[in-house]
Symmetry: C2
Subunit: 136 residues, 2 copies
Amino acid sequence: MAPTQQVKRRATNQGAAVKEALAAEDTFRSAQDVYATLRANGEKIGLSTVYRHLQIFVDDGLADVIHKPDGESTYRLCGDASTTHHHHLVCRQCGKAVEIEGPAVETWADKVAAQNGFTDVNHTVEIFGLCTACAA
Amino acid sequence: MAPTQQVKRRATNQGAAVKEALAAEDTFRSAQDVYATLRANGEKIGLSTVYRHLQIFVDDGLADVIHKPDGESTYRLCGDASTTHHHHLVCRQCGKAVEIEGPAVETWADKVAAQNGFTDVNHTVEIFGLCTACAA
DNA sequence: GTCTTATTGGGAATCGTTCCCATTATGACA
DNA sequence: TGTCATAATGGGAACGATTCCCAATAAGAC
């Protein structure tokens, strides 16, 4: 894993469109979903391109990914540059997500890993539930 | 989600074989992996059947599932009946897993969810790293 | 403008998983 | 121990998400 290295990248309409589509919602959305939305809006873009940009956002640290239990990957733009480590509270119905932080969890995870001799540790913490709107 | 309801189930060689295969290792293994192992051992079993039993174990609370980042589902028998809620510290290389508990995390998750008005909450917490053997 | 080359997109290909359904075999009952 | 209803099996087709391939297109530097 090479250190974050910014590669020369061209600005294209498609790339901007994908970013806009993500920025328009504060929910985790699947590639298929984004693709469908863009097409519905009359955008001229291919599915491959959507996947490509989504992956680029993730690589550049602009977006977070969550793998839903059913295996589908969903994406969401996460705070700009700062890239603070955080987790999500996600509505399993509508996908709406709230960024949350849990310093205690971080230290706990590191401690447990160390106790068991594990190194090069990272972790995933996602909380799923029903948001107020969907619970109604 | 109906309350855990034991359905009448027949005992078959294949079902036992799948359980044995899982029991033989303390690592999370994919359906494909288990299937390959069984076939290699000369077992007469179909891929569908492996998936079927794996899912049954999960439904019955006998096994835990972890969805790897690449989307593949991996299974592991988890402590018998007791079904204590726990998480895993998993080696991303060999799949070896250690069951861990973090009461603090549970309460934290519930609290955060409640603060944001989320209900019917559950969460996933997995810690990935390299076990001592694989780090060498 | 011209030219290099990153980007695009559409369809084929992959891969894990689920579905379908005729065949097989478990377990209950006589 | 034999018979039967039906749960379980398995192999191949079907599926859905994602990746790959590559000729056509367009961004950006000079």
